[in-house]
């Protein structure tokens, strides 16, 4: 296998269930299956886009990969040189090594920065807690990364409140990149920003990727943003992966009916058209429908969809889908 095709990140049958507790004794009466049996691998230097509606589990997937949430079951493997890290089993010390390699950028630039920490403290924190640098060296590294993301070094001791949304997101990016990670999970990094600022941040993320050979898992609900950023797109629905494929193939000819519905719902410029509006809403994750989770909203559903759960399978090289009818359907893309 060539070095290029080597996966950096492998997610294997990952599950994250949140218990639903009721009553005085907090008995567990059920589980919210936020991420249910997700397997995917990401090559080094690649951007994998994860799309889905709210409640589809995309954020939980990102957070479970990086172990902000303890996984319920399954494995996350990070390859770093010869080292193979099984993330769920790492002890505290090994977690520091892992965190130097995997970082996260959050959605809300107003909530993700501590208002009582100035920029030096905020961006320097990952260096400090992971024992990478301290003192003068830390300050040097913080200054260097600030310049790279387009912040002014004079602002080193300012507090988050004096920055605009776009600048705050730059601070968030600097904080993630200061430890020189291999993998960055970006969870809706531009959805809180205005369009003109959004373009600046997307371009910055692309430039940083080219410069440091970063690998991104780019989570977003906006299909056009994911198309701009990623090579492959993974579509999630109700905690499950329904389709994974190179981006243009997903857009041109989706294989899963949910992907088709999602693409049809995307508003497009300069045309008024009748779209294929999917009925209903995302199901309650605590009470999922039997069989295929999408069948109550799927217009192609047959009897098998109601009873048997489809599994992700490879339909063509690099195209996986979880739908019983994938071979029979011809679906419309953008």
């Amino acid at each position: 296998m060539s070095a290029q095709a080597e996966p950096l990140l492998e997610v294997k049958e990952l599950k994250k269930y949140f218990p639903i507790q009721k009553g005085f004794l907090k008995r567990t009466v059920g589980y919210v299956r936020a991420v249910d049996d997700v397997s995917i691998s990401v090559r080094a230097g690649e951007t994998l886009g994860v799309v889905g509606e709210s409640g589809s589990g995309k954020t939980t997937l990102g957070r479970t990969i990086i172990r902000l949430y303890e996984p319920t079951a399954g494995d996350v493997i990070l390859h770093e040189g010869d080292q193979v890290m099984h993330v769920p089993q790492l002890d505290d010390r090994a977690m520091h090594t892992f965190r130097r390699n995997a970082q996260m950028i959050f959605q809300d630039p107003y909530a993700s920065l501590n208002p009582r920490m100035n920029i030096l403290e905020t961006i320097g924190e990952p260096l400090l807690v992971n024992n990478v640098a301290k003192g003068a060296e830390l300050e040097e590294r913080v200054k260097k990364v600030m310049l790279q993301v387009g912040l002014r070094v004079e602002h080193l001791r300012r507090f988050p409140h004096s920055f605009s949304g776009g600048q705050r997101q730059r601070i968030g990016i600097a904080r993630a990149l200061v430890v020189n990670p291999r993998l960055v999970i970006a969870d809706e990094p531009v959805s809180a920003l205005d369009v003109s600022i959004q373009a600046q941040i997307l371009n910055l993320l692309k430039d940083m990727q080219a410069q440091y050979q970063l690998t991104y898992v780019f989570i977003s609900h906006a299909m056009s943003v994911v198309r701009y950023m990623s090579e492959r797109i993974a579509v999630m629905y109700a905690g499950k992966l329904v389709e994974v494929a190179p981006k243009e193939e997903v857009l041109r000819q989706p294989l899963h009916p949910y992907t088709e519905a999602l693409l049809s719902a995307v508003p497009k410029l300069s045309q008024k058209r009748k779209r294929l509006v999917s009925r209903g809403e995302v199901p309650d994750l605590g009470r999922l429908p039997s069989g295929c989770v999408f069948h109550p909203r799927c217009k192609y559903a047959t009897d098998i969809c109601k009873t048997e759960e489809p599994h992700l399978r490879e339909l063509a090289p690099s195209r996986t889908v979880s739908c019983h009818l994938a071979e029979k359907l011809t679906l419309g893309g953008i």
């Binding site: 605009s164 373009a199 299909m223 198309r227 508003p267 410029l269 045309q271 779209r275 999917s278």
Partner: protein, 351 residues
């Protein structure tokens, strides 16, 4: 005033300022537009451009203090005679009679636009009670159920008695629309009604609004920062920046042939879902300080085609480029080829 009897509302030189401790913000600074009966006007702009305040001024619901409509007129062509909405007291009976009955509005956040203490039905019935007197309780309830059914709420006779928190975001927005339509308004203002919703739900709501607009023959003012959504909903589009109208044109023209440097820059900065993928071009710089009064064009500091000495000195007037496209930029002055000096001398002479 035009004598065109298809015009529903004419807004001329609207100015809404906010008097804050830090200074005065000219949130809306000389905005003019018309909306024709049954047609839709889209308003596009980034946050802080004054698009919501324009809508709120039209409804006269700008929080005051600190906000105040300091100038301009909003002529509403009602059945009997035209009324200048700006001349009415915001809390007068005349204004209350217009608000909700003639103009109604749906908001971005469906959770905060309902009171959590009353059922959906209660709140819609209240709107009907205030504006359509003479109906019995039973008739009002029946009308509400009918409305809920019309906006696609399943089992309306049961869901009329639920509280807002019991509904999902999409359903709540549907209920909001039902309430806005309760008195058959002539103009519906939609202020980012789908921003908080998922794409598939957004598609359902857009389809619903469009269908209802046709059915009720309403005019629509659709405000959003999402260019694609606005393009799907509007006949005509107005682009705003820092409280001013930069460009106004039919939907086709504004997307196929944008004229204003800001509109062009905005178009190049959004990722597209179809067609060639190019590196996004960013708009340089940041929004100017809102407390500062802009003598010239508000986009001057970020514009790539600016003409120093002209654009930062005088406000560009609205130039009519085609019968349906106007743009506020000196580049479209008939003397533009002769250089900034010629424009300056001309526009000083005419003004």
């Amino acid at each position: 005033m035009t004598n065109d009897n298809n015009v529903l509302i004419e807004v001329r030189n609207l100015q809404t300022y906010f008097y804050l401790y830090e200074g005065t913000v000219r949130a809306v600074d000389g905005v003019s537009y018309d909306i024709r009966k049954g047609k839709s006007l889209g308003v596009i702009g980034e946050s802080g451009c004054g698009k919501s305040v324009t809508a709120q001024s039209t409804m006269r619901i700008v929080p005051s203090p600190p906000g105040k409509e300091v100038g301009g007129e909003i002529i509403m062509h009602l059945e009997k005679e035209p009324v200048d909405v700006l001349k009415l007291e915001a809390n007068s009976n005349e204004m209350r009679a217009i608000r909700w009955k003639e103009i109604s509005m749906i908001f971005q956040e469906p959770m905060t636009s309902f009171s959590p203490l009353f059922t959906i039905g209660n709140q819609i019935v209240e709107a009907i009670k205030l504006h359509l007197p003479g109906l019995t309780k039973k008739e009002m309830r029946e009308r509400t159920i009918e409305l809920l059914d019309k906006v696609g709420i399943p089992q309306p006779s049961r869901l009329i008695d639920v509280y807002p928190h019991q509904l999902s975001g999409g359903m709540r927005q549907r209920a909001m629309i039902a309430m806005a339509l309760s008195c058959n308004p002539k103009l519906l203002i939609a202020d980012e009604p789908t921003t908080a919703l998922d794409v598939t739900i957004e598609a359902q709501i857009l389809e619903l609004i469009r269908g209802l607009q046709e059915e009720f023959g309403m005019a629509l003012m659709y405000i959003s920062h999402d260019l694609a959504v606005v393009s799907e909903m509007s006949d005509e589009i107005m682009v705003m920046y820092l409280g001013r109208v930069m460009e106004k044109a039919s939907t086709d023209e504004i997307f196929n042939n944008p004229l204003h440097p800001y509109t062009r820059a905005l178009w190049r900065s959004i990722p597209v879902i179809e067609g060639e993928l190019k590196r996004l071009e960013t708009i340089k710089g940041v929004l100017p300080n809102p407390y500062q009064v802009q003598k010239g064009c508000p986009f001057f500091s970020r514009c790539e085609q600016r003409m120093p000495g002209l654009c930062d000195e005088a406000r560009p007037p609205l130039y009519q480029v085609t019968p349906t496209q106007t743009v506020s930029c000196f580049l479209y002055d008939k003397n533009a080829k002769a250089g900034p000096a010629a424009i300056a001398s001309q526009s000083v002479a005419t003004s």
